[in-house]
């Protein structure tokens, strides 16, 4: 009789043998699709303007980024410029570009792009000052960083 006796068993434990595989899959996905965070922002995170005619920046390694935005401290007014991990003056922009150039190979210098990530509330005066400085040292390729979208109403 015992031959036909149903074995009483609780629920079998869910096999976790494939868990590492799943997690590794996720890990590889994130490793491939993301980029390293380079800088910690000292200024308030710039709210980028929207634009429809955007071009993707090619070759991330040749891009140097300049952030423009308000200070985190609400009492300090005016636009602040941040490069790498420090807040600088407009006059120091050329030395930043020179230090960026020094890190690249000589033949790559002419392909280097400066990406300006500025808050949409920032003053054009600050941006034009930066542009003037970049022009002085022949860093002519620039990109106004924007988010892609067709609704430009939020810009102004």
């Amino acid at each position: 009789m015992s031959k036909f006796k149903k074995k009483k068993k609780g629920l079998p434990a869910i096999s976790t043998a494939s868990l590492p595989d799943i997690v590794f899959m996720l890990l590889f996905f994130f490793m491939v699709s993301t980029t390293m965070r380079e800088t910690d922002l000292l200024i308030k995170k710039p709210a980028l303007p929207t634009a429809s005619e955007v071009k993707k920046l090619e070759q991330k390694s040749l891009v140097s980024t300049i952030y423009v935005g308000k200070s985190k401290d609400a009492r300090i007014s005016g636009d602040k410029i941040q490069v790498n991990d420090k807040i600088i003056d407009v006059k120091d922009v050329p030395s930043f570009i020179f230090s960026e150039r020094a890190l690249r190979k000589e033949e790559e210098v002419k392909y280097m792009t400066t990406s300006i990530k500025a808050d949409k509330e920032a003053n054009v005066g600050t941006i034009l000052d930066i542009k003037e400085q970049l022009r002085d040292i022949n860093a002519l390729k620039i990109s106004f960083s924007t988010t892609k979208g067709n609704d430009l109403k939020g810009n102004y």
Partner: protein
């Protein structure tokens, strides 16, 4: 003590290790793709450079003040969204002859679809867009105007590309990115040459 054969490595902690790595990557990386409006700054001109004389009718004046109000050609108060159409009309006008190349005299624009108004620009290669901004203009407005100008050029190039090659300029550009062939490059250069971007940004108003 008898050694057991093919004793398996305990893989139970593999998941923990992978999770740890996963969390590390989640924290230290970002996902944003950097995109933006690309611009090439003009080279610094030598001090003794003679002034270039440009006819007023070949210049499309956009002035924006610190209240983000836009004035076109010094007389017309417009919205940002109107700039694209006005700029296209201006660039594509083709009312005169283009730049003379070497000894050859300039030719009238045979691909323009504009009104051929003698009071507007002569030729796309002569049409200059001038963007005069105030120091107090917000950057968002500035980018919007730049975007509209870019859009005007892109649409004109698209139209011409469809007429000449049966494909839009954007499509040719993305083809070129996938497969960089010489013939595509010739097409792109030709389109850029037909509608060159000439944007001048004078000193901002203080």
């Amino acid at each position: 003590m008898a050694r057991r054969e093919n004793s398996e490595i305990n893989a139970g902690s593999m998941a923990d290790i992978a999770f740890l790595l996963l969390i590390f990557f989640l924290v230290t990386t970002t996902m944003d793709v950097d995109s933006g409006i690309a611009r090439k700054l003009p080279e610094k001109s030598p001090i003794d450079n003679p002034d270039v004389i440009v006819k007023q009718k070949n210049v499309f004046d956009i002035t924006v003040n610190r209240n983000n109000q836009i004035l076109i050609e010094g007389e017309q108060y417009v919205k940002v969204t109107d700039i694209k159409r006005l700029a296209m009309d201006f660039i594509d006008n083709g009312g005169g002859v283009g730049n003379s190349i070497g000894d050859k005299p300039g030719e009238p624009c045979d691909y323009c679809n504009g009104a051929k108004d003698p009071l507007s620009s002569d030729h796309p290669s002569k049409a200059i867009i001038s963007l005069q901004s105030d120091r107090g203009t917000t950057y968002g407005m500035y980018v919007s105007i730049q975007n509209e100008i870019e859009a005007a050029y892109n649409e004109l190039r698209n139209k011409l590309a469809l007429k000449l090659y049966g494909r839009s300029y954007d499509a040719i550009l993305s083809d070129y990115k996938d497969n960089a062939t010489e013939s595509l490059k010739v097409k792109i250069d030709n389109l850029k040459d037909k509608y060159p971007q000439i944007i001048s940004e004078p000193e901002p108003i203080k």
